[in-house]
């Protein structure tokens, strides 16, 4: 026979007991309810937030990476000038086979964007036709750059959704002209909105052909950013090390010196963020663990009182043939049932709060992950067993003669 014999009779018995002390039972499980509800809410909120941020990082472009010139941190004196130019882009394009696409990028904020009488500021990104693919931009209306636009340096541009909105125009702008830094550009297409994250928008942007960027901002000639897309997520690291080797050789950096450029990839940013989010979850779990501990002690306390109150009952049951394990099972079942009830109510409250929170228009969607519910139940059941054990053992070890004489 198993350690906890007669589960059906025990559960029936425990239910009767808990119902007959409904108020006490309710107050006892309050700690567990709060602990589990806050676990569910916290885990779901962090999860929802993480999903939201991850989605945002996804919009940077799948398997995308960026290389930009940057002084090494130790700033060695003989480092020379920090340069990244068109020739580097060409070298990366030809010499890194694990990259599917490579584009140069000049990114500057322009103070002078003009349409009819309206003057505004915005980000200018001078690049080529592959950049849209790398960054996963979609054309909503019109067309993308053709290779000829890039090669010949046609005065054409693509407008981001925020620019279009701030200009106060619609799709009819396609085919018309705007002025950037005093030059006239024909709008050939509109970009689909990518959305904003915590006030940072990706749609406040105008794409122009790379060559025109060089003309508008000649100083950027040696501060070109290389953007690229790896063949698959498996070769991102390979691509990175190929780029590092290539650029170090081209820039003549000795083995004892640091890189004069930096590489970042979308997956790396994502991984960093996920690490932070995991850290937050673990910290929250610790806090919740403490509240579960408090809840568990509450259950232990009430169970101890219950054992003392029911000493005669225990004596009687023993006289009627109950073994120690029967009494142990009876009280353990009660404790576990109590905390499971707490877990269940806590889960419902947590889930309800998440549903309500998700309805708020400015809130990210908060979905309760299945494992949070499983965790809530599992941990509360474990709490019941852990903290129910001491009272149950105490009950089981009672001497029936003394117990029957207890007043």
């Amino acid at each position: 026979m198993s350690l906890l014999s007669r589960p059906a009779a025990n559960i029936e018995n425990a239910v009767t007991q808990l119902i007959s002390h409904a108020t006490r039972s309710g107050l006892t499980i309050l700690g567990i309810v709060i602990a589990v509800a806050s676990t569910i809410i916290m885990v779901s909120a962090v999860g929802g937030f993480t999903d939201y941020v991850s989605d945002f990082f996804q919009t940077f472009g799948t398997n995308a990476l960026w290389v930009w010139p940057e002084k090494p941190s130790d700033d060695a004196p003989s480092q020379g000038r920090i340069v990244m130019n068109e020739a580097d882009v060409k070298a990366v394009t030809d010499g890194v086979p694990s990259l599917r696409y490579v584009s140069p990028l000049i990114r500057r904020q322009s103070q002078s964007i003009q349409h009819e009488s309206r003057q505004l500021t915005g980000w200018i990104e001078a690049t080529d036709s592959q950049y849209l693919t790398i960054r996963d931009f979609k054309i909503m209306t019109g067309r993308a750059f053709s290779p000829i636009d890039i090669e010949r340096g046609h005065h054409v541009c693509l407008l981001g959704a925020d620019i279009v909105r701030r200009m106060g125009v619609g799709e009819e702008i396609v085919g018309n002209s705007i002025q950037i830094e005093g030059r006239k550009f024909r709008v050939i297409g509109l970009l689909s909105p990518k959305g904003a994250f915590m006030g940072v928008t990706q749609d406040d942007v105008i794409h122009i052909p790379f060559r025109l960027g060089l003309k508008l901002y000649p100083s950027m000639k040696e501060a070109v950013v290389i953007t690229g897309q790896a063949n698959s997520d498996h070769v991102i690291n390979e691509a990175k090390s190929q780029i590092v080797r290539l650029l170090r050789r081209r820039h003549g950096i000795g083995p004892d010196r640091e890189d004069d450029f930096r590489i970042a990839s979308q997956d790396e940013v994502l991984a960093t963020f996920k690490k932070i989010s995991l850290g937050a979850t673990v910290t929250l779990a610790g806090v919740v663990g403490i509240s579960l501990l408090v809840g568990g002690i509450g259950i232990m306390n009430v169970m101890l009182v219950s054992v003392t109150e029911r000493t005669r009952e225990i004596g009687l049951r023993k006289a009627l043939g109950a073994r120690r394990r029967d009494i142990l099972g009876q009280f353990l079942t009660e404790a576990v049932l109590l905390s499971l009830m707490g877990g269940m109510i806590g889960t419902l409250i947590g889930w309800g709060c998440c549903q309500i929170a998700s309805r708020h228009p400015k809130m990210v969607p908060v979905n309760v992950p299945w494992w949070a519910i499983a965790l809530g139940f599992g941990v509360s059941a474990a709490t019941g067993v852990l903290f129910g054990m001491i009272p149950a053992v105490k009950a089981a070890l009672l001497n029936p003669i003394d117990a029957l004489r207890h007043e």
């Binding site: 007669r6 059906a8 009779a9 009767t16 007991q17 007959s20 005669r312 009952e313 009687l316 049951r317 023993k318 006289a319 009627l320 043939g321 109950a322 073994r323 120690r324 394990r325 029967d326 029936p400 003669i401 029957l404």
Partner: protein, 270 residues
């Protein structure tokens, strides 16, 4: 334990056989001898009273008979099985199978119906729920309380409560019913009804041991064993056990009360 059953026919075996049972308690530095060599045999179908003043070792004997305690030395056979050397859990099983307890203060669970209270011993025998219900209903019927099956103990009179307790003691068909002052919390006429019930059960073959200090209760048994200072001081059949009912009882009760009073008086002087 099954083998014992197979080899020795149940009927011919004494329900209880005690041989030089001693029980010593450790009370601080000194040992207190509660029982000093008890020899006793109770046959199947007997109705026995065990009498003795408090401190006589009566309760200790009751605890040993009920398998709630084990003797320090000596042999105790319950229905042919030596139980002096059993473990706690085996003792639990043994009393669950063989003994039906009836207590002075009934010991019913307050939040359970009469029927559920009667079911209680069966829970520890692995009976199915429906089987428990059926047997408990039969036992309640046997004590004349089938109409009160779904009453709570606080909806029942004292006598009815004790009947429920007796039904609970009967429900698993024990070899022995051990009643500890079963009429102690009842008024005289209700007490007599309970004794009548014991009488009836005994006449159907149920072995019953009643522990009491009331001579009028002992009078109703077939045999009275008197204990004092841990020893049996007398073991005699009762000649007029068949006195039943009302007026004729008045005399023995008065008479016995006087004796009882004298006994108590003697004790307090001592």
């Amino acid at each position: 334990m099954k083998t014992n059953f197979a080899t020795i026919p149940h009927e011919t075996m004494p329900v209880i056989r005690l041989e030089s049972i001693r029980k010593t308690y450790q009370m601080g530095p000194t040992d207190v001898e509660a029982l000093i060599g008890i020899d006793m045999t109770i046959e199947n179908g007997e109705l026995v009273a065990i009498m003795g003043p408090s401190g006589s070792g009566k309760s200790t004997l009751l605890n040993i008979l009920g398998c709630l305690d084990v003797p320090t030395s000596g042999l105790f056979e319950l229905a042919g099985r030596n139980v002096s050397l059993l473990s706690q859990s085996e003792l639990s099983l043994e009393r669950g199978r063989r003994i039906g307890f009836v207590f002075q203060s009934f010991e019913l669970l307050g939040r359970r119906t009469a029927l559920e209270n009667v079911e209680l011993p069966l829970i520890y025998h692995g009976h199915s729920r429906s089987d428990r219900r059926r047997r408990a209903a039969l036992a309640l019927d046997r004590v004349g309380l089938s109409g009160r099956a779904h009453h709570m103990p606080n909806q029942l009179s004292g006598g009815q409560r004790q009947r429920v307790a007796i039904a609970r003691a009967l429900v698993h068909q024990p070899s022995l019913i051990l009643a500890d002052e079963p009429t102690g919390n009842l008024d005289t006429s209700t007490g007599l009804e309970i004794l009548d019930l014991f009488d009836e059960l005994n006449s159907e073959g149920q072995t019953i041991v009643i522990v009491t200090h009331e001579p009028e209760v002992a009078e109703r048994c077939r045999r009275v064993i008197k204990i004092r200072d841990g020893r049996i001081i007398s073991d005699q059949p009762v000649s007029k056990y068949n006195l039943k009912g009302n007026s004729t009882d008045i005399f023995p009760i008065c008479h016995n009360n006087i004796i009882h009073g004298l006994e108590n008086g003697a004790k307090s002087i001592k």
